[in-house]
């Protein structure tokens, strides 16, 4: 049924939080080795979609396959195939930069020798090698971000999810990190699925783009196709003409919504 080549297959995926529909019947496919940008304004449903693709959240309905594995039914098998850099922090503050990397490497079963070489290589790229033995709690926001990206790249997964990976980074670091990612993509044929608010970034690296707004995919295709479709000069103009120019209220994320409704006792739906 599913295209055998598809690294990510999403069909009629929907996520409802009580009466709020965060993701509304979306479908798309990402092929192996492709670089796919998932764009949308704040609160459009990007992160919720990524959570469903990465076994953190169960969909209300629809089908998902990650490298041919259903991440809802077959969580452990699906987890082997992807890596992820989250939008919000996920480091252990009480561990050092090196320990955070080491922890990740062991969880992902990267053998000791590879682990050591890669940790050094990656920490040097994000310019944290000098600070490798410092506790993460002493790091600034930008340093934490760099460390998280380095960590996400430590095991070379088949599919790499990056949820706003370069937010808050200076152009130098952003450039370095994208070069490393693109190189990985080429050398190891890793599929890249990323979200960003920097349209020029998406325009530069993405093979195909999907634009999501209010939980629905409103357009998808190559950057060229989107520009032609909207008669725009840049992806940014295309994005604005598709999603409108109104500024979105940064709404409470679905978890905050749940918290509001159920102050403490969690209910799964």
């Amino acid at each position: 049924m599913a295209n055998m080549k598809a690294a990510i297959m999403v069909r009629n995926l929907t996520k409802k939080f009580y009466n709020f529909t965060a993701v509304d019947n979306i479908s798309f496919e990402v092929e192996g080795g492709e670089i796919f940008a998932f764009l949308g304004p704040n609160g459009a449903g990007k992160s919720t979609t990524i959570k469903m693709l990465t076994t953190l959240l169960n969909p209300t309905s629809g089908e998902v396959e990650i490298a041919g594995v259903n991440p809802i039914k077959n969580q452990d098998a699906a987890r082997k195939n992807f890596g992820i850099v989250f939008q919000d922090p996920s480091l252990d503050d009480e561990l050092t930069a090196y320990e955070n990397m080491e922890f990740h490497g062991i969880l992902y079963k990267v053998d000791k020798k590879t682990r050591q070489t890669r940790i050094e290589e990656l920490l040097k790229i994000v310019e944290l090698w000098d600070r490798k033995n410092d506790l993460v709690k002493t790091f600034s926001g930008g340093m934490r971000r760099r460390l998280e990206i380095a960590r996400g790249l430590l095991h070379h997964p088949k599919i790499f999810f990056l949820d706003e990976p370069t937010v808050g980074l200076d152009p130098q670091t952003r450039n370095q990190i994208w070069n490393y990612i693109l190189n990985l993509n080429k050398k190891e044929d890793i599929t890249i699925f990323f979200t960003t608010h920097y349209m020029e970034e998406a325009e530069k690296v993405a093979g195909r783009v999907a634009i999501i707004d209010h939980g629905k995919i409103i357009s998808q295709g190559t950057v060229l196709k989107l520009k032609e479709q909207t008669h725009s000069k840049s992806l940014e103009d295309a994005f604005l003409s598709l999603t409108g120019k109104n500024i979105r209220e940064e709404e409470a994320n679905p978890q905050d919504r749940m918290r509001l409704r159920h102050n403490m006792w969690r209910k799964n739906k």
């Binding site: 959570k51 990465t54 076994t55 953190l56 959240l57 169960n58 452990d76 987890r79 082997k80 992807f82 992820i84 989250f86 919000d88 922090p89 996920s90 480091l91 252990d92 503050d93 009480e94 561990l95 320990e99 080491e102 922890f103 990740h104 062991i106 969880l107 992902y108 079963k109 506790l135 978890q255 749940m258 918290r259 159920h262 102050n263 403490m264 006792w265 969690r266 799964n268």
Partner: protein, 248 residues
Amino acid sequence: MTAIYILWLRQIKRYLRSRSRIIGSLGQPALFLVALGFGFGPIFQKAGIGNYLDFLAPGVISQGILFTAIFSGIDLIWDRQFGFLKETLVAPVPRLSIMIGRTLGGATIATIQGIFVLILTLIIGFRPQNLYLLPLTLSFMFLMALLFTALGTAIASTLNDFQGFQLIMNFLVMPLFFLSGALFPLQSAPPFLQIIAKVDPLSYGVDSLRTTLSGISTLGVFTDFLVLGILTGIVLIIGSYLFSKIQI
């Protein structure tokens, strides 16, 4: 296996790095030992039940273990709020291993904390009856630590934030401690209190330490082992189930 080890190691490293927490959590047991131990000691003596410190010390050690264990289980909520939980949950490691690693780590910390309290009781003047029973004491301490860490983890798996913390403190941890017979002899307590104490798992922990450290037994050390062991098994199974159902 390595996943369990690294999760265990993480808990230990975090514990050893929070010196203020280690010292802070010794304050309460010290207070109990000094205020109750010296305060009630003479009355206890007059009532002819023996040396109160012999009776109290195992109770206070159990208290130290109970508190540290439950809270290292509840630590899970921090990980959820600070995002680190996500990092472990998307890793290609069965959630059971994550749960076991965390729980073993928490239980180790609670046991170490129990040993610190034991040292505290020695400083205050408590003397164990039979030093050869010390390995048995330590085993019981670890079993107790395991049970309550698993309980804390199970509870934390169902909580999103610290809103429920006060509830757990006042309606679970405190009653577990005060109704366990850690502070007073159950034999002379009113029947309803005796019944409650029999349902309280900490009673069996306290009894096991009291038997092995002070030679005072009311429930029987074999019963203690059986109850603690079976309960630990049950709580671990329920906890693993709840943990596997966590969504972010």
